[in-house]
Symmetry: D2
């Protein structure tokens, strides 16, 4: 991405979490330019007759800032525009970020053209008579494209063993579609025999969206799914211990516990079943920790195989580099060479509620879906406008297969409440919000940033 364009470079790991080549910034500013155009058209006599109450286009910022979730803008008098309630999302939830990741093309020119078209189709609201108002109507999509023109170039980095690795686009899997860019995969496929692409969080989020959204738009067909897990996480799903961010792991997760592992493995089994639903072979990768016992490893291998996986393999790359994952890599290569029977979970013309129902029942294992009034109204309106043909991008916690982070293992019998639905018409999906899922996180009472600093040598400290 960004200004310098794409070039292979060894960057310190912490820089990946900072600005890297500025794609996130380009997304933020392109998004916020459109936001300014929205309020600006209201200020200048509203020539498009945009209904202020119909506006669903927020602003974004790449900071966890709960105070910006709901705000009133345009206060302070005539010169400051029209008072209006709106809010900010985190940049990872921006439709522009989703567009960056879903732009398609066979060369820079066609990719830019697709980017331009997708940005132009973004719907910010409707006229008072209900007609969608787009970024093209607001004459903002050209400028947004200019701001994004370098960001669409995938960023090529290298691992410590000098193998190439791309990093490109950052939609989170819980509040967005959780996959890196189509362009990156296409470039990578031109350069390599095998391309492993990450789909954020589990089969219920990143994988489902990879298959049903990204593959639908890229036309690419996956050969296999690699499911990454840890023995300690599965024991936690089995009811033992509790993993708290920023705190050391509880002792009980470090002790052998075969019953807990067996119980928690129901979670893994569901993930495997989910991948197989799409017709692709599954390989389980178990990130290896010193506390894993042989019996635990054997048990998980057995369970994975029984559930239909091609097998479960230890991955020891943290300790040994590439050498630590040779069997895994061979198993994945083997799986990829099997015939592919990939199919989508749902077809485009299924009604919105049935698409959602299918995801909830077949992928999450739930019993049904409840819609709050705002969601019902949106489904009606979106169907009337023809957006019901779009695939679904669920915003859901990644801490459970269900919408409720407290339900561990393989939850059953739950109903998923849909609070609201948004339409990312430019990116090309509908965006249901499950339960209290938020698109702008907040900071903790001791934010991670409070520990960061530079030392007397100018080195960063406190980033981990």
């Amino acid at each position: 991405g960004a200004a310098g364009g794409g070039y292979a470079q060894v960057v310190p790991f912490e820089d990946i979490n900072l600005h890297l080549t500025g794609d996130g910034h380009a997304v933020s500013i392109a998004h916020d330019l459109l936001s300014a155009f929205v309020d600006n058209t209201l200020y200048h006599g509203n020539p498009l007759d945009l209904d202020p109450f119909s506006i669903t286009w927020t602003r974004v910022v790449d900071v966890n800032d709960r105070a910006l979730r709901k705000i009133t803008v345009g206060l302070g008098g005539k010169e400051n525009g029209v008072p209006r309630e709106t809010g900010f999302d985190i940049t990872a939830a921006s439709e522009v970020m989703a567009i960056l990741a879903l732009v398609n093309g066979d060369d820079e020119r066609s990719a830019l053209k697709d980017l331009r078209a997708k940005l132009g189709r973004i719907v910010v609201g409707t006229t008072r008579s209900g007609k969608p108002v787009t970024a093209d109507d607001l004459k903002c999509a050209g400028a947004m494209t200019v701001l994004m023109k370098d960001a669409i170039k995938p960023n090529l980095l290298q691992t410590l063993e000098n193998t190439p690795a791309f990093i490109h686009a950052g939609p989170f899997g819980n509040i967005a579609h959780g996959n890196n860019s189509i362009l990156e995969d296409k470039v990578a496929l031109k350069l390599n025999d095998y391309v492993i692409t990450e789909a954020g969080f589990g089969s219920d989020l990143g994988m489902e969206k990879f298959f049903d959204i990204k593959c639908r738009y890229s036309g690419l067909v996956p050969n296999a799914a690699v499911m990454v897990t840890t023995i300690r996480a599965l024991k936690m799903h089995g009811g033992v211990g509790k993993i708290v961010a920023g705190k050391p792991l509880p002792d009980e997760l470090l002790r052998e516990n075969l019953p807990a592992l067996e119980k928690g493995a129901a979670n893994l089994v569901k993930h495997i079943e989910n991948a197989k639903l799409y017709g692709v072979p599954v390989v389980v990768a178990v990130n290896h920790f010193p506390s894993d016992t042989d019996r635990e490893v054997a048990l998980i291998e057995q369970i994975a195989r029984d559930a239909g996986a091609e097998g479960a393999y230890l991955s020891d790359v943290f300790a040994k580099g590439g050498a630590g994952a040779i069997s895994l890599a061979e198993a994945v290569a083997h799986a990829c060479n099997q015939p592919s029977k990939f199919k989508f979970l749902y077809q485009d013309d299924l009604p919105i509620k049935e698409k959602i129902e299918r995801i909830v029942r077949q992928i999450y294992g739930g019993e049904g879906v409840d819609y709050l009034p705002a969601a019902e109204q949106k489904i009606k309106a979106y169907t009337e406008r023809g957006y019901d043909k779009l695939p679904i991008c669920m915003a859901k916690t990644h801490l459970s297969l269900s919408h409720d982070e407290k339900l561990k293992g393989r939850p059953r019998g739950f109903r998923v409440p849909i609070r609201d639905i948004r339409a990312s018409v430019g990116a090309g999906f509908l965006y249901p919000l499950c339960g209290e899922m938020r698109t702008m996180p907040g900071l903790g009472s001791v934010p991670a940033g409070a520990k960061m600093d530079i030392d007397s040598e100018g080195n960063i400290v406190g980033l981990f």
Copy 2:
């Protein structure tokens, strides 16, 4: 700046207006991280007893967005924090941008240390008992430094003739201190015999702030001032025609008009006098246009010399490159070799009102200053806290020597109203707002961005 660090590169001109190496983005996000920390401490029980009504720290975004000038944040219930009135400024007005430009040091390590210290000293508000609350108190300055660590590296570019040119930091001269970074000047001085550094807008803004703020902090002493003007602009100051952004120049400015030029040159004379007040020799550079007549050029040369300048020289670099400014360059070199008698306009310990009065009377040519109640209160509070020792950074229109953009030529007899004063304690200056001067611009009814796009080849169009 930013991720890639500083390296010499030929970049297309339009990229300078886009993300370049991302310094502006780093400033925005470092600034907004502190904003999030401010609201977060209120949310988490307010352990520092920060008075919500005392908070002067806004948020910033690099988009002209009038609707964000005044907003209410923290709405929508308990989980979204504490409701509060606040607003956004444009990134160019951020104290973090000013800090980036004023960081000092003799190597990267000492510069980082100074950056860290300045960020830590930023004052966001006070406790209920009136004690300043800083970015250090909020434990945010370390993380801000991490976000800014690459941005402090000056960006080295090349001209089309392959001479080096740095671009670093972007505080605007009307709403901020209007000068590039101290570090850039220091690096440039190590590499070159002569360094020309731009101070945004006229002697009343960029130059005054260069002398009284930047030189005060850098310890560097200027050898000469180059005053850039055009004959058409001076005729406009003489009451002929009107220059409107985005519209072609009116015909009357393209016709010879010696009386108008003579009248308007009173503006140039005042700028020359201002520079000489500081004890430095002045060279006038006249950007040459085909419509300039010989008699007009001769007149301006005469007036400049009479006003005490070393001379006025045509600059024809737009048409001829470096060859078009050889006499000018020689004149500047000559001026630089004269003995320097540089002195500040005011000393640190002058009271706030007297510093402002001196700028208004001696530099702007006004008769006095009026303070609105908010400004009076701030002067009192800032004096009590010892901020009266800081230099002054006036926020004032660049379209007139006065605060009123309608007063052209060399206005006299006006009084400057000060609406409010802010303290940039980290950057190290006080920040009076003259008249209706705003720190967040708005978009026009046809924003410049509405004309930008990419063409079918992927080239940017409509940027100029």
Copy 3:
């Protein structure tokens, strides 16, 4: 009520709709005084540790003003208090109005004491640790009592035939408990042999609340229920025509239509059944219009009797005064002399959800109840605080037996959504909001007030 105290007076009818003796005003100002105390305690350092987000006490005004439904107060700086989201209800929905109507006592002194106690028990919110904060805690209940001390005196007026009639308290039956005051009934019972007291709207609203709330607090037992209906309204419930406020009745309602009447009478039958559920005899009063045909009258008499009513009687008081309702009056007197078997619909100790379920299933004829998240949270919190012992006061449209005004006749198979629940602890009931039911109405595009005026003689015109 109010200043002048209670005295019998012939007042023009329109004055009843204006200020009468000012009880509504006293309610508004007593309510709003408490609102000011709430924000004032936040302003003055919040000594009670009142959680601003817990505050459920709104302000009231006796004007239909939708713009006040949701507001942000305390803006404009430190001297204006603490910014906070809140809103206004219509005075008829004020808990103080409900208290006025539910005050009990055997003389003025005991009534004042009860008023004082009820006002003191009003809960405005909770401390940060969840303890209720009352009007007594805020030291406001005394002043509220002083403002209300005359308003508790029932207003005695006379009919045109000089029979006494009381008018006292005005809670609407859809958004409040819809009954005049207990004190009024008690005074009337001392002065008369028979007292007819109005319970606003149908058996689903005013009657249910009369029995389950007012009788519970007064200890009085009703002897009979008089159900008022019109033949035209029942035809409308049968699917013919549409009654629009401010427009003339459609022709089809003025023509004989026995099938429509029979169909619509299902609505009346359900109301009769509802009254009989409580064990009281029912007399149907049919307000007579010239367009009613003899066959329609006969049909309605038959249906009422078949449904278990003591009979249906024409009331012609509009045309003939008291003489127009002699048979009706005799039938009511006869019904009153039958043995009373009155019983409540539910006992105090039934859980909140079961009380609501009982009202919805047995009175409205619905199938069940759905609770939105806000309602679920409140039920949990109110049960913990012991408010589950209070009776239920449903806020529901009066235009249908269900929550949906479009469902006419005797709707079946519907589920009632509960959006939120409020606690009127001082008045002594819980207050579920069904569907989109609002506690602040709005004005129409041509508000009724736009037609009102005085003519050249000073007479009011346009009130009807």
Copy 4:
């Protein structure tokens, strides 16, 4: 006023501070009905093209509620109207209250007609093209008149000695024009030989407005001015002690102090001079307290006479009833029989700034006036619309002859800052706001209401 109409009645004194006959309530609700119409017209498509930013019509409530000073209304979505910044004033500052007090007429019919016309002329804002929008344009003035029709009837009460006393209308003298109604004076003049009418606070507020506003509109000419003072207050103006509401008087004000009295009497002298400016004889009434010494009384008599008053007389009505003021009454009667030379301070066609200047210089004794930008803009706009012909109603503290409550005695050399100006076009005056003068008071940390209650007998306690 209100419902019951006007009748003579002995009411307990505390009731005068409560609802009396409800005029204040009628004013509030008529005012707020117009407020609802204003937002309602914006909601219903804004057919009058009312510029939301031009709206100066607030809402009112009769409670000291600082949190309502500045609010944002219309939040929460489309059904709640158009978001907008506005606020509440105290009812005493309502233009409707001013209209009630300034309605003129010779009988009920002509008074109602004048009321109707004045209400219709109320200007709430302007169209986008700058044309005033009135209550008549909004079709609200008729309904407001209906709500006010009884309130215009003066309320006749009796003193303990059974002499008649009217109480009618309540505009405060600091934030409004501070005089009872014209109709009341006219009724009183028909019934009595002498009518004493109160003008709230001193000669700088109630008296100036009585002469320049009320007399201008009533056509009545005063015969004499009675200036009420106390010896203790003048000693306080002389720099001794401090009077704090709700606290006992400091001892030093209860001890004889002739030098302090002489010094403070400069305040009284200025008030006497002010009255004489208008050409009317002045009688000083000294409310007598036991601590006043004979020498103090003699001194004040001397000073008053020297300043041109007809004399100073003790008033002892608190202790002795009417008998305590016989000499005073005789002196007033004597003064009334002298020839009247009454004249206004300024003529209608004096420009706005000159009218204000005349009040500030001649009545307050100030040196000049400063206008903040908002005030300057209003003066320009009001002059263009022809409102410059209206008299001036200054909103100013009553605690000093100046705008600054800390300046006691007879302040000199001050300049009065005018923050803003409002136009009460219906009532017929312009309304400058001096300094920080507010039109909505706040409650103290222990509000007066916190002490009020009823005792076990039902009596009010804590009202004084």
